[in-house]
Structures are given as structure tokens and as C-alpha cells.
Symmetry: C2
Subunit: 200 residues, 2 copies
């Protein structure tokens, strides 16, 4: 059946996503992608058709990785609703700070892409992925907030839909603020203060 692939397709997608989320689509060259993934250009173009196509697939991959990580926390019934929210925030802050230690910012493919109209127009799949992920995330958050209201860890007068949007907003904000070089502890407190209307 011919020589098999010597590289792992999803590993390449992960590497590509890691580059894209930091430098954005336009400022990531194909050779940069090759270097990051440890794959020759010919192989890259053979496996994925073009830079655009690779981007879409990397975005898909990025979305599923995130979804799974989130699902872990969201479904963790050992934690109260409030605790689950805190862990989610913790993850974001940790990720950003860890990335900063390595020199560059973590970035976020969603934030990057959402702020780039050109990218969204280039391929309708991009919009679909973004929208689907956003909706799923908000739904999950709503569930957590409802759970928190039941177990008493979240204010009873908190609107789940509104609360979910607030959490998402604060997370996006943190990703931007983190670029300015705010230290870990402070960033963490900001995150919690942002959710004050939920956590009381």
C-alpha cells in the first residue's frame, strides 16, 4: 500500500494551531509552519491542500481540544458550580502566564479569528466553527451556573444566560490584558472579581 505517513496528522494540526494562535494567519509563513511541525513543505502541501485549508483544519482541531478540556471541568460533579467556574478561569490565566514565561504570548485562535473580518470571509467554515464553539461553550457555562444556583455556590438571582456571556467576556478580556504583562496573582484576582456578580 505504499510508504505510510511518517508524521501524525493531528500533531501537525496542533503545531500549526500553536503558530496561528500566536502570530495570526497573515503573519504565519508556510515555512514557519513546516519548521514548527517538523515536516517538509512538499509533505505539508501533499497532506493539506493549501495554507487556507490547513488553517481551517487547525482551527477545527483547536476547537475540539478546547471543547474536551472544558468538558472535563464542566462535567466534574465533585466540584460545586462556583468552583468549576473558578477552575475554568484558572486554566485561562495559567495558560497565558505559562506562555509568557516562554517569551511569547499565548494568544487565542478564537479571539484572533473573531477580530479578523478578512479571515471570516475567506471561508464560511470558519464562521461555522466559531459560532458552533461559542454556542457550545455558552451552553456548558449555563449548565454550570444552573448547577451552582442549585448547590448554593452561585447567587440565586444570577441569570444563567447572562452569566455565561459574562464569563466568556471576562475570559476574552483576560487574554488581551495578559499581553500587557500583568503578573499571575493579579491576573487571577481580576478574573475572580469579574465574576463577582455570580459568586457574590
Amino acid at each position: 500500500m505504499g510508504r505510510p505517513r511518517s508524521f501524525d496528522e493531528t500533531a501537525v494540526l496542533d503545531a500549526a494551531a500553536a503558530e496561528f494562535r500566536v502570530y495570526g494567519f497573515a503573519d504565519t509563513s508556510t515555512e514557519q509552519l513546516c519548521a514548527a511541525a517538523g515536516v517538509r513543505r512538499s509533505s505539508l502541501y501533499n497532506a493539506f491542500i493549501s495554507k487556507d485549508e490547513l488553517f481551517v483544519r487547525a482551527l477545527e482541531r483547536y476547537a475540539t481540544v478546547f471543547r474536551e478540556r472544558r468538558a472535563q471541568v464542566v462535567a466534574d460533579v465533585r466540584l460545586s458550580g462556583a468552583e468549576r467556574l473558578r477552575v475554568l478561569m484558572e486554566d485561562v490565566v495559567g495558560e497565558e502566564c505559562a506562555a509568557r514565561e516562554q517569551g511569547h504570548a499565548a494568544g487565542c485562535m478564537f479571539v484572533q479569528t473573531r477580530m479578523a473580518p478578512g479571515l471570516r470571509e475567506r471561508d464560511e467554515r470558519v464562521v461555522r466553527i466559531l459560532d458552533r464553539d461559542q454556542r457550545e461553550f455558552l451552553d456548558a457555562l449555563e449548565g454550570v451556573i444552573r448547577a451552582g444556583r442549585l448547590d448554593g455556590s452561585i447567587r440565586a438571582d444570577a441569570d444563567p444566560h447572562e452569566g455565561a456571556l459574562l464569563v466568556a467576556t471576562v475570559i476574552s478580556g483576560l487574554r488581551v490584558t495578559a499581553q500587557a504583562g500583568v503578573e499571575y496573582g493579579l491576573l487571577r484576582r481580576i478574573a475572580l472579581n469579574g465574576l463577582h456578580s455570580l459568586l457574590g
Copy 2:
């Protein structure tokens, strides 16, 4: 003295900033800039040396416009501290929603630029502008929060420095969330909920 400029330099910078903040540096072509500013390419290159140079100057301009708008609100002693914060949020939400009516998103040159490492590296002035503006904004916010604590409109236990960073974070988050097409009233409530730890 030769033929004078037929266009207003700052008007061009405003137009350029308007394009950049929506489409970002890479996805804004020079002819797009010419069209937006109503100026021929030759004139553009004559007045501003290059696209890079134009970007830096547009960013500078963008910063001063924002600074002045903010200063208006921040210095308005007729309003309580809390009210001033509310007006600042209101402005952001209004701007984003107004832009959406016109089809495209408002975007934000600061958010765009801060999330683009390539852009920051291209010119040290970019970093300087970003940092200076951020510091100024945070200082102004700190002042407002202190004032609010004195006039009783803001919780006495709110830390000014932390609070300022929270406001800035929520604003950045709103700019991202707004891209997802959240309606005005909801966005407004999110903004206020984000400041709950300050406003009580």
C-alpha cells in the same frame, strides 16, 4: 511656497485608523487606504513614507482621540465615580453596536495590535504607544475609582489598581464578545455585571 496640501492630514489618519482597526494591518491594502481617505497613492506615499509609517502615525492619532474622549468623562466632576465608569462602558458598548448596524464590527486598534506580535516587533514605537496609552488609561481609571470611594458610589474595599485593571479587561472582553452579534441591551448588562465587584 508651492501648491498646498489639498487634504487634511489628520483626516487621512482618522480614515486609515478606521480601516486598520477593522481589518488589521496585514489585511488592509494600500489602495483600500487610498479609497477610504480619498487620496491618490502618490499623495499618500508623499505625505507618509510607507504603509508601516502610516500605521504608526494612525495608531498615534487613534490613541490621542481616545485619550481625549476618555478625559472628558473622567474629568466630569458632575458625575459620581460609579457614574463615570458606567458612562465609559456605555461608550464602548454604544460604539460596538453602532458599528454593527453598519455591517462591520468596530474592532479596536489596541486589541488588534496587542494580539499581533509581528506588528509589535516591526516598530518599537508601536510598543511605546501601546504601553503609554495603557498606563494612562489605568491611571485615569484609578483616579475615578478613588473618587468613587470618596463619594460613596464605589465600594470602600475596592482596590483602585486592581479595579482599574478589571475595567480595562472587561472593556477588551466586550470588544471581542460584540463581534458575536450580542444585542445592545444584553451587552450593556454584561458590562455592568462585570463591574459588580466595584459597584456593589
